[in-house]
Symmetry: C2
Amino acid sequence: MATLKDIEVAAAINILTAFAFFVAFAILRLQPINDRVYFPKWYLKGLRSSPLNSGAFVGRFVNLDFRSYIRFLNWMPAALQMPEPELIDHAGLDSAVYLRIYLVGLKIFVPITFLAFAIMVPVNWTNVTLEHSNLTYSDIDKLSISNIPIGSHRFWTHLVMAYVFTFWTCYVLKKEYEIVASMRLHFLASEHRRPDQFTVIVRNVPPDPDESVDELVEHFFLVNHPEHYLTYQVVYNANRLSNLVKEKKKLQNWLDFYQLKYSRNQSMRPSSKTGFLGLCGERVDAIDFYTSKIENLSEEIASEREKIISSPKSIMPAAFVSFKTRWGAAVCAQTQQSRNPTIWLTEWAPEPRDVYWDNLANPYVSLTIRKLIVAVAFFFLTFFFMIPIAFVQSLANIEGIEKAVPFLKPIIETKVIKSFIQGFLPGIALKIFLIFLPAILMLMSKFEGFISISALERISATRYYIFQFINVFLGSIITGTAFQQLDNFIHQSANDIPKTIGVSIPMKATFFITYIMVDGWAGVAGEILRLKPLIIYHLKNFLLVKTEKDREEAMDPGTLGFNTGEPQIQLYFLLGLVYAVVTPILLPFIIVFFGLAYVVYRHQIINVYNQEYESAAAFWPDVHGRIIVALVVSQLLLMGLLSTKEAAQSTPLLLALPVLTIWFHIFCKGRYEPAFVRYPLQEAMMKDTLERAREPNLNMKGFLQNAYMHPVFKEGDDSESDVASGDGNQEPELVPTKRQSRRNTPLPSKHSGSVSSLPEVQEHAQLL
Amino acid sequence: MATLKDIEVAAAINILTAFAFFVAFAILRLQPINDRVYFPKWYLKGLRSSPLNSGAFVGRFVNLDFRSYIRFLNWMPAALQMPEPELIDHAGLDSAVYLRIYLVGLKIFVPITFLAFAIMVPVNWTNVTLEHSNLTYSDIDKLSISNIPIGSHRFWTHLVMAYVFTFWTCYVLKKEYEIVASMRLHFLASEHRRPDQFTVIVRNVPPDPDESVDELVEHFFLVNHPEHYLTYQVVYNANRLSNLVKEKKKLQNWLDFYQLKYSRNQSMRPSSKTGFLGLCGERVDAIDFYTSKIENLSEEIASEREKIISSPKSIMPAAFVSFKTRWGAAVCAQTQQSRNPTIWLTEWAPEPRDVYWDNLANPYVSLTIRKLIVAVAFFFLTFFFMIPIAFVQSLANIEGIEKAVPFLKPIIETKVIKSFIQGFLPGIALKIFLIFLPAILMLMSKFEGFISISALERISATRYYIFQFINVFLGSIITGTAFQQLDNFIHQSANDIPKTIGVSIPMKATFFITYIMVDGWAGVAGEILRLKPLIIYHLKNFLLVKTEKDREEAMDPGTLGFNTGEPQIQLYFLLGLVYAVVTPILLPFIIVFFGLAYVVYRHQIINVYNQEYESAAAFWPDVHGRIIVALVVSQLLLMGLLSTKEAAQSTPLLLALPVLTIWFHIFCKGRYEPAFVRYPLQEAMMKDTLERAREPNLNMKGFLQNAYMHPVFKEGDDSESDVASGDGNQEPELVPTKRQSRRNTPLPSKHSGSVSSLPEVQEHAQLL
């Protein structure tokens, strides 16, 4: 068991690592050459232009202003300065609310930590149980519940504290739910007009022998919503077309690469082979080859586009139906249309960017079957993922490699390398699996048939959380694979399960403290460095970039990654709540994580990430629900732990806690969740009336006509203009935001009252 | 353990009992004096008048036509003859669909029984396991799974049969759900205009300092549903008034009693005492006393009525809001109105008869707290109800009685009486509790705040089912109180619980067979005799009845009693499904129950019961869900049983069954349940358009103005006219039904092609 000293050493190492990352970040971000890696968001919004065009030659790539290196941490206050309403304007409500998750962590755990250190640590510390026992123990354990003698009356403190912590957590959760719900409603009803406010997606349009899908949709809504129906847009099956477009883009990249190569070295026209990966096949002139291939593909794309638009077969039984008023859309989205509840399914259309086009045409029966298949697959993935990995591990041993590639034998047999391989190989299969896990979960969700990217990410996040809960949290406490645990749990009584886990909890505190420091501290600090995008950007920049536009494409701003990020945060909530009563010493580490992550992600959201969609914080019920789960788990485990301490009289009292917590959850669900699922008519009517008064002659039909068009159709024929027009149309609501931000954004330099050392601010000021 | 012979004896006894009930019924129902007990439904519909007025004196009371006694069982075919659409017209959709539950039982179990007897009985019978073992066993056990040797390959038969039975049950359930859903939609959209098609109930109207509730409601809906809103009716808090009216009715009964007494014996004016129950206090002239008291009360009622209508304080924050079209109502009922999802709650208004007026004004927070309280209370009721009963039992022993009433000691000490008391007393507290259980559950539901009687009955039925499942089903299999079971289950592993129960199941077959015969056969036959209403009617008839109207009031047609009846049926589904694979000999007994009950209840629904409300079969999702629960339970128990038989290789295969069954349930829920919760706009629009075309000048406002008035306000001031006008208004939709029924009802006599021996048909014919 680790002593306080071990923890100190680990903390020192991790703090140093985090510090090193921050220093590296501070230096790298000040170099103009990296500007597009660390401030892509501003480029995308058109508020920043490349620094490479101005100034002296060296100054274009390296920042020579030494003063700017001195205040290398002042991005932190800068990140915190942007007020929340502006942040919503700048990065969307999703991002702003995502940051609130970290704030909730701070709000919950800061008071709990103070209370725990003021009351529980003295209660635990002033015992001599561990000193008098024959057990080996560490100083950490002296601060934990393990130090209390069996059957002691001091357990009443823990019981009361469990109540206090629960009530505090619920209080914070309720407040926060209230705030987020009102933020969402305010955002949805904001004066800004968006196509999804007026549009409903209709799925499972029934086949009709006499009418085509588009006629059917038009007639149905003309009849059943006569006063509100405005227009519709059918959904084309454009999966093949979008594959062709992707293919063309790839070829275009190769062409660019060879053209750049030729322009640098005019003496020799580059050549390539036509076969697999350019490794085999006939040798041809690369530029000619790709030019002709692209031409062919362009023709194919044009004909495919023609075919889709003209053929009725490519119309899917789904449509986007738009209404004259928000009221009409709100009514249609919330009601059942047909006798048969599995056809004419209506729901709010996701934002145009957010639509996942491939899934729009699944019939009801297929959806339920897919749901079953995914549920079973996920069960096996969670509990039996170790089986294929163990199989791969058994293959990938030294002997196996020596047999497969005998000529490597002498190298492998070297002692150092051998031990390295033996230590490294078994883990590598697992590591690869864990890296690909989010992608696998995402694939599952896509197969299940959700129609918006935000829904896909939400459901993937839920699955990732379950996986982490079982395999990381439970897996670390009761060592063994998930399947072994499952087997144990089936053979244990409902009473024994919390006991088994509860008893192991205090012993694992040091492990989790280390985990928090590595994953939470150093990991978060590493996030800000963006090593992978940095390398990829410079590679692309070197190999492909010819014009400013190419450089824009080479940027990879990335997104928040809700499907992996949020479950990660939830693990900290779980650890914090479970250990709050048992081993309070763990709490400060969690607070540091929440604080650090808040600053880092706020900075990233302002300067880097470019959200692909806006779901108006639709994920908050999930976040809330998972914190509640963590709370209930912590209560059950405490019950299990206390029941082994012969503090039996307290267990019935603890039993009330999960009941109350679950009731609180039901209460919140009824009180706030509708705001995330439905859209109140009162709001819609208010907005409609206002709008009618202000813009009586508004051409709604023109506004909505092409809002929901498959992105492939929006792109121009020329690949050069693809991105520009595509992006422009894909994010229609960014246009006014740009104006606002330009007007409102306070310059950080002016606020801090000093001459800014940040080049981006200078750029910004120049632009204005 | 019971042998086949014991079962035969029990069967003989129960068949004889049932037979005796039927004979008694056949004789009693033919007596004109009992006509109102056995055919009240026809009186209520005005299709039958009292036979006491016509014919010779004796013939008025006793049926002297001996021919009619010969065919004493021909009420059975008569009950089956009325076709379903006519039954819906006659008794409502609820009753017609309720009968379908029995039909589902027959549809599921008849084929299963044939299959089980053709395949499983031979497989079980042709073993010698029990003969070679040292266990005592009965012939019944030889037919059951117990006779198969451990580890035998014959268990594959049971496995395959479990699959076949599950698929068959699911198939029947799906078909039936489909039929009931379409019956409901057809019923709701039938051409018949009903106020609840146009009306929505709004609850939690927020308080407003400037406007009263009625102004607020009018304004809110004028603004937010401008094109569809028609009118509203506020809800008055008339609980005190209705208590006064009830009180007055009771006094009126006493007055009638004394007046009748006086008219029979003119020599002495009756007198009574003013104190408690007429046992103490001053002696007064009874007629004068009650007359003056009723006068006072009438004045009080009048002033209270005045007060309620004039005072704004008695208006509750709820209202019935009516719309011009069904479409408008459907939209309002299915959408969220306000930003805050806990105010302006809208849902379909229940039928006027179905409204539970007392619960209309509960705010949201109070509702969720009540929910928590009731959930906890129900948990304790289910698992700990034995504690107070055991306490009462410990008090009510011989010694206790002797101490309390010492003068009875000599009598009690008599041997016969002593042993009788000792055998009887401990049971009596339990029996009383069980008799009052449905009422207790109903009280709980009322406290929880449901706003319609049908919802109250549905939720009570669910709780009653849970109670029966735990205390009757599990309680009989693993003997012991529910609390002991709970304690056992907590200390057993998830794996062991189905094993423990599964192993006991074959041994309890004979017990359940006896249970089915007593409760199912004799009990159902007893239902048709209506002993309690018979006695009460004759008592009332003798003591109170002066006029034909009084006699009408003395009738007690009763209702189906969904809250107790349906859980009872579900127990048979559970038994049937659990024993289908294990001990198929039990199945024929269940089939007899379903068949018999179907005939008996069909007769009762046609001739006796008067449904208090019409929920349009809103209970079907519950019925469906509970059969699914029974199916899953049977699968889990079979798994437990087989795992002890060392047929381990089959257990994983069985595991797929509950997964598939639950998936099937989710599928059905999505496919059919919306028909029971929402109202499709297409239907509403169709109906509205039709109606507009047919009756363009319809005065909807007049039709809806007073549809939802508290029943106390509808009753006239004179108690004589109370019932007449009250009933007339309370069931506005019965009026046209009456006409239809008169026109369409085919006379059973004509159908059967013989001279009818049923007096009601003759009456009926005379009326026409």
